[in-house]
């Protein structure tokens, strides 16, 4: 019964992540790739995403400091981060990455700084929420077939 409750909590958290725009359909695609051979595939991919994205955020930070107003360089780094966001359906974070790139296109340094703070904030929020989600799943026990929010 406890496991069922944990599963419900995980499902509810996942639904809220979709309802609040943190995640999109791509996250379900990642979970769909889980099978008996790779039962924790989604968590592994998400871990890889956060390892990767932390590095990319640092790269952007360093580029903004070391190469002021080198918008092409800043944009190139952010494009990598945005590509990573696509991989797990990190929708809100992706939107902020796009805003940053738009500011780069406008050569708006202040806009870039502002949107970069938003990227970092969304990154931190998403990490915390997904860590909670996977912790609930781990506590609940072995994964069953992936479900989409609204189908539970």
């Amino acid at each position: 019964m406890e496991y069922a409750n944990l599963r419900r909590q995980a499902a509810s958290l996942k639904r809220s992540l979709f309802d609040q725009g943190y995640l999109d359909e791509q996250f379900c695609q990642v979970e769909d790739l889980q099978d008996e051979a790779s039962p924790n595939f989604a968590e592994e991919v998400v871990s890889l995403f956060f390892k990767d994205s932390a590095r990319l955020v640092t790269n952007i930070e360093q580029a903004m400091e070391k190469y002021p107003k080198d918008f092409n360089r800043w944009d190139a780094h952010m494009q990598q981060l945005r590509g990573s966001c696509f991989s797990i359906g990190a929708s809100k974070m992706n939107n902020e990455c796009t805003s940053f790139r738009n500011s780069c296109g406008e050569e708006n340094a202040e806009g870039c700084r502002r949107t970069f703070q938003k990227v970092k904030r969304e990154h931190a929020i998403l990490r915390q929420k997904l860590e909670s989600y996977f912790q609930l799943l781990r506590q609940a026990g072995p994964a069953r077939a992936a479900t989409r929010p609204g189908s539970m």
Binding site: D32, S38, F41, D52, Q79, Q80, R82, F86, S87
Partner: protein, 128 residues
């Protein structure tokens, strides 16, 4: 055609995209060779041409270190290789698609790869 015998080359430098693409291809019954940049991809294709049979499909990213996807596509075509090449990139503006087409790619699909996209690609090139 038995999907398990389809020979695919996945060209992608970012580990997360390789991991995902590998899983999506496996779900479609396809095991792929992998190259982490365009130069390695060109080398692998050249080896195949030399013996072992050409790849049935090449999936390539655009932005990679050492050699990017555009240049790798150009060099592969310059070898006379007619294997279908599909660009898989998060840059999906018309200019990005046109650049790949000009280099010799046969199709373009935005990242990330999904089961549906892979199914479509395999069908399109008669590999399903």
């Amino acid at each position: 055609m038995d999907r398990r015998r389809i020979r695919v080359l996945l060209v992608e430098d970012e580990e997360i995209h390789r991991v995902l693409a590998r899983a999506v291809l496996r779900a479609a019954g396809v095991e792929a060779d992998e190259a982490e940049n365009g130069a390695e991809a060109v080398r692998r294709v050249r080896e195949r041409v030399g013996g072992g049979g050409a790849y049935d499909l090449i999936l390539t990213d655009k932005q990679m270190p050492v050699m990017d996807g555009h240049e790798a596509t150009r060099q592969i075509r310059a070898m006379g290789v007619t294997t279908p090449i599909v660009a898989v990139s998060s840059d999906s503006l018309p200019s990005d698609v046109q650049a790949f087409t000009a280099a010799g790619a046969d199709d373009f699909t935005p990242k990330p790869l999904t089961k549906e996209k892979v199914g479509h690609i395999l069908s399109k090139f008669g590999l399903a």
